[in-house]
Amino acid sequence: MPGKLKVKIVAGRHLPVMDRASDLTDAFVEVKFGNTTFKTDVYLKSLNPQWNSEWFKFEVDDEDLQDEPLQITVLDHDTYSANDAIGKVYIDIDPLLYSEAATVISGWFPIYDTIHGIRGEINVVVKVDLFNDLNRFRQSSCGVKFFCTTSIPKCYRAVIIHGFVEELVVNEDPEYQWIDRIRTPRASNEARQRLISLMSGELQRKIGLKVLEMRGNAVVGYLQCFDLEGESGLVVRAIGTACTLDKLSSPAAFLPACNSPSKEMKELPFNEDPNPNTHSSGPSTPLKNQTYSFSPSKSYSRQSSSSDTDLSLTPKTGMGSGSAGKEGGPFKALLRQQTQSALEQREFPFFTLTAFPPGFLVHVGGVVSARSVKLLDRIHNPDEPETRDAWWAEIRQEIKSHAKALGCHAVVGYSESTSICEEVCILSASGTAAVLNPRFLQDGTVEGCLEQRIEENLPAGCGFCHIPYDELNMPFPAHLTYCYNCRKQKVPDVLFTTIDLPTDATVVGKGCLIQARLCRLKKKAQAEANATAISNLLPFMEYEVHTQLMNKLKLKGMNALFGLRIQITVGENMLMGLASATAVYLAALPMPGGIQIAGKTPSDGSYEQHISHMQKKISDTIAKNKELYEINPPEISEEIIGSPIPEPKQRSRLLRSQSESSDEVTELDLSHGKKDAFVLEIDDTDAMEDVHSLLTDVPPPSGFYSCNTEIMPGINNWTSEIQMFTSVRVIRLSSLNLTNQALNKNFNDLCENLLKSLYFKLRSMIPCCLCHVNFTVSLPEDELIQVTVTAVAITFDKNQALQTTKTHIEKSLQRASTDNEELLQFPLELCSDSLPSHPFPPAKEHLESARSNSGIPAAQRDRCSSWIELIKLKAQTIRRGSIKTTVTVEKASPMGEGNFRNRSAPPCANSTVGVVKMTPLSFIPGAKITKYLGIINMFFIRETTSLREEGGVSGFLHAFIAEVFAMVRAHVAALGGNAVVSYIMKQCVFMENPNKNQAQCLINVSGDAVIFVRESELEVISTQQPTANCQQSCAGGEVTT
């Protein structure tokens, strides 16, 4: 499919003064795509040039269309010397390459210069005509849709979820080329920006090809990252989940097309997989794995179905190949067999999704993670991707084997990351081992069935908690009980996962953000010695992070973690670990025990007293937390639950390992030996510190909640006000007292203070919840720690929240008291009214709510907004020197004001800037996403040689981040969108040299550009006009809010 790219340069505005003499600029524009360049005429002496150019046409291959960015350079014409560059705009034309997304890119783009930042704006129109040419050997993958969202996008339906796709490309980093010594910083930065843009395009195209090979049409949960390896190169890598998506055409499609369960089962039989790469597996079976009774006698060898994958990295826990464990029952076994075979045809049964279509997730095993330390200067052929490919393959293999050990055949919520310091690189991967429903994984699934909730037979909200592994041969010691929900299956006492809370999970009370923070000093070392030192430290860090998490979880009185993300960062002389997760109380899991403190030397009386004092404090904290988060689970007597399962030993869902370059695997037993789980032993001052630090975490001020998952469990009445933000802090450690303890305290304070600042800044939004709180730690220099946080604050309606929780509790109480017979129906009832079809109440008067939160009286604001609109209107009617109107427009009458506000924005582009919302979540509260316009993936470099003049490091970075936001918004607006969802700042690399008055920062952001319509407006639109018009009306409506 070659195509014709058409570009028109309309106008510029707010250009900088380039000619000091005249205070004006003679601007013209170069439009470049691939190797072709066009130029506009020079527009003399104006800061607001009107080029109104012809259509510049580029005839190009679709391969280029995918790889190359459109490059627009604005220059100042100079007769006598070289033309001065004002700035550039890179436009990714990918969204124009698939039919359902944007059809035209048109709007004002900030003109960006890597030295000066944004310098005015330029109005550009871009179109693409694609010609169908199916006969050619395809190198392009035009038409494959990409989504950053880690769930099935809102206006689509998953027909098949194919699985893991990954790709990696390497190039020499322009900043490390010899030529960099002689070129200007601007040229170097631009070379880098352009290269990364090209590499991203190439990467996306290659991934697209893989998706087409798998017969998919989309990538969901697309995560692209850069590794700035330095001398050895620049790596761009991406992972994602290939899917076949169907667009939901009408709202009716949201309703499950209900088939009877029996029919569904009949239709289920396995259809021949058309994918030639996979070999078919046995016949499928009905998935009624909930109806059988527990029969431990049936034995089943896992090995019989797990086939050819070579697991060289078998965990040492004795659960590896060959060990014949006892399985839950024949159905479970069959289910496993079936999915396993479906999955094992894939090299890596991984899914980057964190939220799933109903019924997709059957069981969750626990978190699996793997890390590996590599030396970058040992790469044989640094310009080729092979070595890195091998590294990642190794790690993925390890993850896969861990999952297997947990009795799971798949890994969900999968992600990969790196941390690089000089020539040392830590590669990390983590995910959640899970058992999946095979129906989504194959072709030929029945139309209409997918939307149907599969757990019609499963007790909703607890199925995923049931252990997938064999209880008599557990991969790690765990304390199992019967599920507190259905009382038929076994559940662990705590559950750690990297995914979002399943929408059908039954949660008691609210959740909260939990963080484990840890620093470890390390000697400065070189190469091999350094790598060894790091590898040796890693297990201890993992262990401590895990212990902290567990203790904090107990302290909150909760029993499960979602969205767990453990980041280990390597620096010159230290390692940092930061784990964030959202803790909740799952109704299906047992109530967590308290924390007990035990002293080593019980002889001393005062010591004893101290211990008991601490113990009291801890117990008080737990009680307080339970109240705060409204955790009052129903009491269930022991008889109902049944006797505890033999050997109540310790827990730990984390299975992980480290490997050094040598592939050595260390398996950690995180169970603290035979000790009781909840005893904290205070044997030295270190342990004391730990206990203290446990108690220093202050809960957010009242009215605030925080979580790092998509939504806060227990809050479901979001109002429409959202505020996305990025906050960055860098602290300098005083090098004198660098002990582990001091370091820990500094790091802890840094994070806590940062959170406190956020709560303070956003206090006007109370009651509100910080969602998707994403912390990133980096160690830019010896004594510097940088923490970057991106999150979104969403307001909610307090009154309604109380009501819902009450009913929720009532419901769970009710549930607890009902006997088994009724249990089957209960989940259904629960699904139907408390569940996901309407996570939010219809947006009530978002105008009102937005206004009421702003601090100034509504009346005054009305006045304010009306002047500006009045003035605008006047500006259109009044010409200079027209008749004298002695300001007859006194305060407009209420009627008039109303009219002005409701009027959608005038069509002319320069009237006002449309509002573009940004959020790291996959949805917008109180609104419906009507269209996905394409992926936004942008990379910027900013450099300054006048740091002090730009307000120091804070001024510099503040301005830069604001500019990045502006450029993202401008691109979204140009695509016709009014929001970015699943926004993420993947990298923010900041380097400073205050002595030279210099600083440099690299930022990489991505997200999905969308059009959303307020639910309140949606009703109006659907009754009044066809939805085709909604794009204009909602964009317009936004402007005036």
């Binding site: 944004i118 505020q723 906050s727 503040h958």
Partner: protein, 357 residues
């Protein structure tokens, strides 16, 4: 542990009105933090001083970045870097251009030049307004002046269109610009009792009736400069006091009409000729720039003070002035009725506003 860098950037730019006020008032970050602490914010929110410091710094940085845009408010509306809801944009503009009564009284009618700017320290010391805030206010006046000085059309409308002010603020600025352009004296001791509002009121009347724009809407500077021709013509009014018969006739007509209606009738009768001479001479002198500048001094000296010393109530002043200007129409020998009305209508309005303690 020291904080090297500490920033917060929202997709929607957060504006804290309280901090904005402190910033506009010219307080340093540490002063602002101290003031916020004193206002009890720590107790209300449970925040720590460090949090407050960081928050204040952040807002100050944002305001500093916004300041460039606030110098040309339409830019604030069209810029893409800071996403700010329209109501907040209006608030930012309105507060940025708001001024202190004490300050504006000091500079009203002064040339907005470097010289005046140098005196700002004195003004700051005298008024207790920080020098920074004085500078901002002064620069605002000057900026608005520069932008609208050469423009056609209504002064207030021009200001509103280019600075997106509310009606009220646009009219105030029109007065400031008008006073600065005509350099009216307002600082004399005897004028100290007058507020900015009094002057702004007069300015509006004068702009409406005495400027070029009042007769012709197609000239440059129409609202800024007084109508020179009109001022020249005002000399013709002199006949009202120079011609003894006319003056006597005028007096007797006024006295006849007001007899029994005025509490201060006898004082009026005794002072009529002085007052009339005062008002007409003010008109006749307006040909000279110097005398134009002293307009308010003259009005207070020649009319307000004599009346006040005789304790005329405001109602009596109004009755007198109405009668005084209306009666001229009955003077057969007087031919400049239209000129008289144009002069006296405005003057009457101004005098009534200026007449207070």
């Amino acid at each position: 542990m020291t904080s090297e860098l500490d920033i917060f950037v929202g997709n929607t730019t957060l504006i804290d009105e309280e901090v904005y006020r402190l910033w506009l008032d010219g307080y340093s970050v540490s002063d602002a933090v101290a003031l916020r602490v004193r206002a009890g914010i720590l107790e209300q929110t449970g925040a720590t001083a460090a949090v407050l410091q960081s928050d204040t710094m952040d807002h100050y940085r944002t305001f500093h970045m916004l300041e460039r845009l606030l110098h040309a408010p339409p830019k604030l509306l069209h810029q893409l870097v800071f996403q700010i809801p329209p109501s907040r944009q209006a608030l930012l503009i309105e507060r940025y251009y708001a001024f202190d009564e004490a300050f504006v009284r000091e500079v009203l009618g002064k040339k907005l030049s470097k010289g005046t700017k140098k005196d700002l320290d004195d003004i700051s010391a005298k008024t207790g307004i920080t020098l920074k805030s004085c500078r901002r206010q002064f620069d605002n006046f000057k900026r608005v002046f520069k932008v609208v000085e050469e423009m056609r059309g209504s002064l207030a409308d021009n200001i509103q269109q280019h600075f997106l002010f509310s009606d009220r603020l646009a009219r105030d600025y029109a007065a400031i610009v008008f006073f600065a352009n005509n350099r009216f004296e307002t600082a004399k001791k005897k004028l100290q009792y007058l507020s900015f509002g009094d002057f702004a009121f007069c300015a509006e009347l004068m702009i409406q009736n005495w400027t070029l724009g009042a007769v012709d809407s197609q000239v440059d500077d129409m609202d800024m400069d007084l109508d020179k021709e009109f001022l020249q013509d005002l000399k013709e009014l002199k006949v009202l006091v120079a011609d003894k018969d006319l003056l006597d006739l005028h007096k007797s007509l006024v006295c006849t009409a007001l007899r029994g209606k005025l509490g201060v009738f006898s004082e009026m009768e005794a002072n009529f000729k002085n007052l009339s001479r005062g008002l007409v001479n003010v008109a006749a002198k307006l040909t000279h720039n110097k005398d134009v500048r002293d307009l308010f001094v003259d009005l207070v000296e020649k009319f307000v003070e004599p009346c006040r010393s005789d304790h005329w109530p405001l109602g009596d002043v109004r009755l007198f002035l109405n009668q005084y200007s209306v009666t001229v129409h009955s003077l057969d020998g007087f031919r400049h009725q239209a000129l008289w009305d144009r002069y006296m209508d405005t003057l009457r309005g101004c005098l009534l506003r200026l007449y207070h303690d």
